[in-house]
């Protein structure tokens, strides 16, 4: 006898499912437990086993089509069996998609009860009366009575959290504007005006243009083409900070950790050219120059001016270049030359207190160095716990070009240089 195979309810909230794949064709034999169909809900895709044995006589809901829970999606029966015309409900199913589940289930007899029970809110008569008087929406109240019934105390407790009262008009307006009455702070009865005041401004759309468009395209390009790997090392910044102080004392000029980090990075890049390379048009391009981009945050975006030949500049020259480029970036006076030709980028979020992040590579570069804040931390030195100024450095790199071990070696070298800047003199 032909039996209807129905769209199952795969979760409490599932009202409909989309058939994404039939594993059997009409005429195929189906055994109990055999995977028959794949159904996607808004949450998950499931492969469903048949609970029926026989021959797939008819597929009612085709691949890509959606049907409500308990709608017949296929007919399974005996070979050669004629499908009763009454079960051929394909057009009905499509039509029913526009309606809600309980209405759908109704003509299908036995299922209507279950569906309508699922949709019903169980509340005591007095709880309902109280809820109406206090404009409490029962669907948002959790019932603590027998069997989850909403009882008096549930309404009272909800009303204690939620505003005590709202006018019926306010409730209506709140529903229209999707305003949660509970979020309106008011001692007295909430009126329509209160709800309107709480209406959040509608979403505003503006065109994606200018620097934001460039950033969007480049970040998407980078993320979509370069498989990113991020490596983090923790560096003891004692020596760098000490060197910085010495420089200030010796030159009488300002100094910052940034130029020291750029100096060390440039030194390490010179030693490990593969980090300073690009993958372009199926070619690995090794760059002769070490041109380090410095990410500068602007009010409306981000720009990366480039310090050319960073490895050949001394600390004063580096500082001068970085300060100058930063100033130009903020005043919008960078020339095209100054924002192109980078081979590696340093991005520093330490000033925002960041301890870790995963920077996205600035294409066509292959690696980017993330710099975090320096923070006093307990560390163990020679068996003793002491505090040290520590900072995290993250290397984000293109795994197509740079292997994990190579990236790790680069970071080990960078740490070595930062912790022993005198090595730069060798």
């Amino acid at each position: 006898m032909a039996t209807e195979y129905k769209m199952p309810q795969l979760g409490l909230t599932m009202t409909e499912g989309t058939v994404t794949k039939w594993f059997k064709a009409v005429g195929d034999t189906v055994a109990v437990g055999e995977v028959l169909v794949e159904v996607a809900t808004d949450k998950i895709t499931n492969q469903l086993e048949s609970n029926l044995a026989g021959v797939l006589l008819e597929i009612i809901v085709d691949e890509g089509a959606t049907a409500p829970v308990q709608a017949v999606i296929a007919i399974i029966g005996q070979p050669g069996e004629k499908v009763a015309t009454a079960t051929k409900a394909a057009p009905v199913v499509t039509e029913l998609l526009q309606t809600t589940a309980p209405e759908v289930a109704e003509p299908r007899g036995a299922y209507s009860a279950a569906v309508s029970i699922a949709g019903r809110i169980k509340a005591s008569p007095y709880a309902k009366k109280l809820a109406a008087a206090q404009s409490v929406d029962l669907s948002v109240v959790t019932g603590t009575g027998p069997g989850g019934r909403i009882v008096e105390r549930d309404i009272r407790e909800y009303a204690m959290q939620a505003p005590t009262k709202a006018s019926p008009l306010a409730v209506k307006v709140a529903a229209e504007h999707q305003v949660n009455l509970a979020e309106i702070q008011k001692e007295t009865r909430i009126m329509k005006a209160d709800v309107l005041a709480a209406v959040k401004p509608a979403t505003v759309a503006k065109p994606l243009v200018g620097i934001r468009k460039v950033i969007a395209e480049r970040m998407a390009l980078s993320w979509n083409t370069a498989p990113h790997v991020h490596l983090t090392v923790e560096v003891d910044m004692t020596a760098v900070l000490g060197l910085k102080e010495n420089l200030v004392r010796a030159t009488g000029q300002k100094a910052s950790v940034t130029e020291l980090v750029v100096k060390c990075a440039a030194y390490a890049l010179r030693e490990m050219p593969v980090i300073n390379a690009s993958l372009m048009d199926n070619q690995i391009v090794m760059h002769e120059a070490v041109n380090i981009g410095i990410a500068v945050a602007l009010d409306d975006g981000l720009i990366v001016p480039v310090v050319r030949n960073a490895d050949q500049k001394n600390l004063s020259q580096l500082r001068e270049a970085i300060v100058s480029l930063g100033g130009k970036a903020r005043s919008g006076k960078l020339s095209p030359d100054e924002i192109s030709g980078g081979t590696f980028t340093v991005t520093n979020l330490g000033m925002f207190g960041t301890d870790h992040f995963t920077p996205v590579i600035n294409p066509p570069e292959s690696a980017i160095l993330g710099v975090c804040r320096i923070v006093e931390k307990p560390v163990v030195l020679a068996g003793t716990i002491v505090t040290r100024p520590m900072s995290n450095f993250i290397l984000g790199f293109d795994h197509r070009l740079i292997d994990g071990a190579v990236g790790a070696k680069f970071m080990a070298r960078l740490r070595e240089l930062l912790e022993n800047p005198s090595l730069l003199l060798i």
Partner: protein
Amino acid sequence: MREINYGQAISEAMHEEMVRDGSVIILGEDMGVMGSVFGLTKGFMDEFGAHRVIDTPISEAGFTGMAVGAAMRGLRPIVELMYVDFAPICLDPIVNQAAKMRYMTGGQVKVPLVIRAPGGAGRRNAGQHSQSLEALFTHIPGLKVVAPATPYDAKGLLKSAIREDDPVMFLEHKILYAQKGEVPETEYLIPLGKADVKRQGKDVTIIAYSRQVVFALEAAKELAAQGIEAEVIDLRTLVPLDWETIETSVKKTHRVVVVQEAVKRGGYAGEIATQIMENAFDELDAPVKRVAGLNVVLPFSPALEDAAYPSAKDIVAGVRDVVK
């Protein structure tokens, strides 16, 4: 105030009314010479004469019918059925005659009759002498039904019942006869149709009558220890029912347990519960609960008899069911 027991209170009520009104007579088995099996009419025959305190043969249908006739002719008879279990033998005079006469004569004939009948379990009197049959009478239009729980109420209500121009079923509880309570020496009446809130509470309403009021108050005490404040309504009169008192309490507590000793099936508790659901549905925070006797013939075995009708423990459990 002085304390007397429930039986004495009933005795006093009859005595006072017989002194006050010469048309009041008493009929029943062993009511005269013996002074009734519970001693309620001791000395009455000597005081009022054998024409007012009439010893009858064992013939309930006969002397009840006789009393109906006497009432129609202007006397105010008090009939005692030794046990309410004997009422079924005289249902015709009660149901078809007493209850109907005033209506069917267009008010030309009154039947000022009181039928006193002790009922209830707990005395190991077995199936034919232990029943609570109030539902038979509450079902019949034309009858008033009273079921007091305390000596004070018993006296005041019986005096009113005797003065009532319609037939009254006055249902006593034999276990209560020895129950003592304060009863003033000065005369007082309690009107029929007025319930009494025996205990104030805010969490749940326990509606009871007759002996179950005693258990309900006991249960309320235990519930208070558990943090549940039960209001106990003693209906006192079953017909007419004091709806106002019930409604006020339901609007206050929103949860109701109706208690009766009688078997649950077809009992008066079901009637009260239904009235509450019909008329105060929106006030209910839980389904109305009945705590009642089991649907069985009352056993002779003490252990089984005690299990067959509600105790305070059962009422506590019933209340916990609706205060979940």
